[in-house]
């Protein structure tokens, strides 16, 4: 078992990831994430200050499309997939926090 990540860290990350986890899951994940991050220590420990990061394996730039209108989806089809809809809109429970 690794103690690299505390239970409080896991709770904080779960909040960021919007996952409502129970106590067992939080405990288990604290251990599992610790083990994986221990394994990643080989990478974290490398001195790579002079190496540029690669975000993308391809050297592509400037992929653009013309500003032309394309067909939109049928609203009924879109809203049919929604868990809840009303008046042509998606319905959600009340919003408590600011964006």
């Amino acid at each position: 078992m690794s103690d690299r990540i505390s239970r409080a860290d896991v709770e904080h990350v779960a909040a960021l990831a919007r996952l409502t986890l129970d106590d067992d899951e939080l405990d288990r994940l604290a251990g599992e994430l610790g083990v994986i991050l221990d394994h990643a220590e080989d990478v974290a420990a490398l001195d790579l200050t002079d190496v540029a990061p690669t975000a993308h394996p391809l050297p592509l730039v400037n992929v653009l499309r013309a500003d032309e209108v394309r067909p939109t989806l049928d609203r009924d089809e879109v809203l049919e997939a929604a868990p809840a809809a009303e008046d042509g809109r998606f319905r959600v429970p009340r919003i408590l926090d600011a964006p």
Partner: protein, 488 residues
């Protein structure tokens, strides 16, 4: 000098403007205001699993045009990043924006003789719109909310000034000038009321003479230049009062409440500002080519400052009138089109109508000049009717009022309402003679009276004459005929 410590405000503005493209930032859905909810959507802007974004080339063109107007540097490459946070108006629960490598850096805007530096301008996607049901439509009191994603994915440019602004007045000037520039460039509709231009202010105060910046507070939700000024003034007062009371200012976001004239702190979840930005892997870097840069340079039109100078010189209008005219998106073009029909001589009249009744109507209805039933040549027609004596100024105001609301030409309204000014001497002489004959006692009182009395009686006769002609009698002619009979 009293020994009291004095404070000065330090203000930076973040302006979001929706770009006036035909389609959204990353998909071909129409970029349109006011459509039925959730009709301008596709797998991409709805963030459906498996969909991928492709950048709209017009957005790059607009950004480069803006770069020339405000003398920005355009770095070799800019990249998109994901800003991760959960919110129901955001279909992917991340916003594609630019973070470490924005498309434009280091611009400047001249505002009333001062220069405001602009740190950056970057591209990002807009969110959808939520409607709060129950609880008076306020977000936190609502029972539930409804989401429309028509606006999701609409291209935004965020323009971030440096904290060079020192007063609410200067902030308004900056926002106003920026709005005029964006409008002139044709890159945005810049309507604060519709939300196509949104201005947030970062306000802090510091002791005069010190260099260190105070804790800044972000103020949001101002939907006009006027409320921007009020909100900043209020926030400065609030912060100064806190400093004087020895209270600590907390870094936070506050909402401007237009009705109450105050700002409210907003609830935010713990850790919600940890946006976990990382480069957007579904998009590749933007590296403007020499051709794109040159094309943008060539497409920059006359900018507002030069435009104002030209109108003052060519039309003989005041700097203030030119500013009012150019401050309204679409109105300068409307006025110029009307002047083009009339020829230069009556430009001043055109501007007076535009900045008076036409602007009042636009403000009242929230419409833009392009969608008015009155076309520029209609306004030209009205100015012509006044100039040739067919219509008095007062009646012209009524006619304009109708022409702004109904799809009718001024001439048609004049005919329908029989408003053409009566200038026929014979007809008007008959009216005057009739009035004098019917009021012999007033005529006698006039003749016997002093200057003051005469003026009063003259007014009475003119009123009667206008009544008899239902307002259409040419007042100059009536006055002359009356004088001939009473004094001749």
């Amino acid at each position: 000098m009293t020994g009291a410590v004095r404070y000065e405000p330090v203000i930076g503005l973040e302006v979001h403007c929706e770009l006036a493209t035909a389609t959204k930032l990353f998909c071909g859905c129409p970029n349109e205001f006011g459509s039925d909810p959730n009709t301008n959507v596709c797998p991409i802007c709805l963030g459906l699993p498996g969909s991928l974004p492709v950048l709209n080339e017009r957005v790059v063109e607009f950004a480069l045009r803006f770069a020339h107007a405000l003398r920005f540097d355009v770095p070799e490459q800019s990249i998109f990043a994901r800003k991760n946070y959960f919110y129901p108006d955001m279909p992917k629960d991340y916003q594609v924006s630019q973070y470490e490598a924005p498309i434009l850096v280091d611009g400047v805007l001249d505002v009333d003789g001062t220069t405001v530096r602009i740190e950056r301008a970057h591209l990002e996607e807009d969110t959808g719109k939520t409607l709060h049901m129950g609880g008076g439509g306020r977000i936190h009191d609502a029972e539930y909310s409804l989401v429309d994603y028509n606006r999701a994915g609409v291209p935004l440019m965020e323009i971030v000034s440096r904290p060079d602004i020192t007063s609410a007045e200067q902030a308004r000037g900056y926002a106003s000038e920026l709005r005029a520039v964006l409008s002139a460039l044709g890159v945005s509709d810049v309507k604060m009321e519709e939300g196509s231009m949104r201005v947030d202010a970062n306000v802090s105060v510091r002791i005069v003479g010190t260099e260190e910046l105070g804790t800044k507070v972000e103020v949001k939700n101002m939907n006009s230049l006027r409320s921007l000024g009020r909100a900043i003034d209020h926030e400065i007062e609030r912060q100064v009062a806190m400093c004087e009371a020895g209270e600590r200012i907390v870094q936070e976001t506050r909402h401007w409440d237009e009705d109450e004239g105050v700002t409210h702190g907003m609830r935010s979840k713990e850790g919600s500002s940890d946006y976990r930005y990382f480069p957007e892997p579904d998009l590749v870097p933007v590296a403007p080519t020499d051709e794109q840069r040159a094309a943008a340079r060539d497409s920059v039109p006359e900018l507002p400052a030069a435009h104002r100078d030209r109108l003052v010189a060519e039309w003989g209008i005041s700097e203030a009138d030119a500013r009012v005219l150019l401050d309204v998106p679409g109105l300068p073009g409307f006025a110029e089109a009307a002047v083009a029909v009339l020829g230069g001589g009556t430009a001043k009249d055109v501007v007076n109508w535009c900045t008076g009744d036409v602007l009042a109507h636009l403000n009242e209805t929230g419409l833009s000049p392009e969608v008015l039933p009155l076309a520029p040549d209609g306004l030209a027609e009205l100015v012509g009717l006044v100039a040739d004596g067919t219509l008095s100024r007062n009646l012209a105001k009524d006619v304009l009022g109708e022409a702004l609301r109904e799809p009718k030409r001024p001439k048609q309204i004049v005919e329908e309402r029989g408003l053409a000014q009566e200038s026929d001497e014979g007809a008007l002489a008959e009216v005057i003679d009739g009035i004098l004959a019917a009021n012999p006692d007033v005529v006698a009182a006039y003749r016997a009276g002093d200057d003051k009395e005469r003026k009063k009686k003259r007014g009475f006769f003119m009123g009667e004459a206008m009544k008899a002609t239902r307002g259409s009698g040419n007042p100059n002619t009536l006055s002359r005929l009356l004088g001939e009979r009473l004094d001749g």
